[in-house]
Subunit: 273 residues, 2 copies
């Protein structure tokens, strides 16, 4: 079936949705985006994602050129045209066609729908293996398109028998490239780094949802504290809550989803129903 | 007159030279490039630029898919088709159309020709005003498309009455976003940072050309040493040698091109004739 995308002012057959090579995203890696999923055909946490999208654009001196209401209207139409339930929608805003290839121009807005593979029960039980790497993302609170480092790191991640990387900087753990990091202490306290991170929507929702059942804190986690974690997990729109079962080859929680992590998954799922 | 670009396997009218939005440059800011200028219709330092292009691609796990000879053949044809002397040519290699929007795919190769404005004598005399900023480029030896930081910094640069930014990290001066930095000491020694920089072609050529007339050194420059500089200048393909006449509002060399800098400009120009 024909899939549609939206560029700037109109819908276009997805296979024809192209951007001229003089756009600042291709020339200079300059752009922002956001991503949310659909439950059936209903966007999940759409207001939070749109708020962050406008924040990212504003921080990067990019003019969205549409109101939140206008974006919602386009999204409704796109969802209706594509009939692609339980998928993901990405909104990208680039630096535009710059005459000198450097100054910001009129941004290009690209909205597209894509396959979204929920994790299996087996995957959720097996969890994810992380390897630490010293790096601080540029403009961490902004959801830019800059994923140079994690894509460059893919071979290194494989060499270390890991699935993803956990960044740290100045001895402080920050985040994974596409997800936020949490650990559970021996006292069942839930801690997630506060500074120099992207403020994930799933992270924020989880902190709200579980605050009445658990002691939660946004505070620094040192590299050394990783080895004391009883459990650890990551959160993101695509993974929701995914257990971390090893860091730098050291097994956590016997290599499976821990009791607290499972409880959090239940609480999160219940809150969404 | 019709201008042409080259994408992957063929020439295409430049205004139609588009890339599908699923390319990793648009999705994840992942790509490398190189840029050289034409003197008339003759490429300047082409071998050096192609060497660096292949180095950048290799470092980023991107497969060029063409030999150096094949690229030269395409460049010759493009130059002949466009009849656009004294212009600049950019070769870009992106992460390609990735099925999952994250893993590297078959790269897209884009070759384009663009206007190239040589600096006027007045500009060369007036020089450039820099403002320092603490930042270390990711993978500094690789010419990636990542210019997030300097484009984001444009308003700040204007606020500081400067023309460009000079990066430093751990108290050590490194480079400007699109050029290498040099200073001249009171003893007429020429110093340029050695580490954590892009190895500019003009920088390399200049060091070779002037070594018999001046004491030159690739070594650390601390932030504090900036205030002791008798002269300073930057080098790049577009600017060749451009005097730096102030840093953080402090005038250097009475705000004009210094004697040593002018001598270096002469030596460089003579060597190219």
């Amino acid at each position: 079936m024909q899939k549609w995308a939206f560029i700037n002012d109109g819908f276009i057959a997805e296979e024809k949705a192209c951007i001229h090579f003089r756009d600042l995203s291709i020339q200079r890696g300059y752009g922002v985006f956001d991503f949310f999923k659909l439950k059936g055909n209903e966007p999940v946490f759409l207001d939070d994602n749109l708020n962050r999208f406008f924040y990212s654009a504003s921080q990067m001196h990019l003019h969205v050129g549409k109101t939140e209401e206008e974006l919602k209207d386009i999204l409704t139409k796109l969802i209706s045209k594509n009939e692609f339930p339980d998928s993901g929608i990405r909104i990208t805003l680039t630096g535009g066609y710059s005459p000198d290839g450097y100054q910001i121009a009129e941004p290009n807005l690209i909205i597209s729908q894509q396959n979204f593979q929920a994790l299996t029960a087996a995957h959720l039980e097996k969890g994810i293996r992380l390897v630490t790497y010293e790096h601080q993302r540029q403009l961490p609170s902004v959801k830019t398109i800059d994923y140079l480092m994690p894509i460059w790191l893919q071979p290194r991640i494989k060499t270390h028998n890991a699935d993803d990387v956990l960044y740290y900087s100045n001895n402080m753990v920050t985040e994974c490239p596409r997800s936020n990091f949490f650990l559970v202490t021996n006292e069942d306290k839930i801690i997630t780094p506060r500074d120099n991170i992207l403020n994930g929507i799933t992270r924020k929702k989880l902190l709200e949802i579980v605050a009445k059942d658990f002691e939660v804190a946004e505070e620094n986690i040192t590299l050394g504290e990783l080895s004391t974690a009883k459990e650890a997990f990551i959160t993101s729109t695509t993974k929701t809550i995914l257990p971390v079962t090893s860091i730098n080859g050291n097994t956590i929680s016997n290599g499976t989803a821990g009791i607290v992590t499972k409880k959090l998954m239940q609480l999160f799922q219940s809150a969404l129903q």
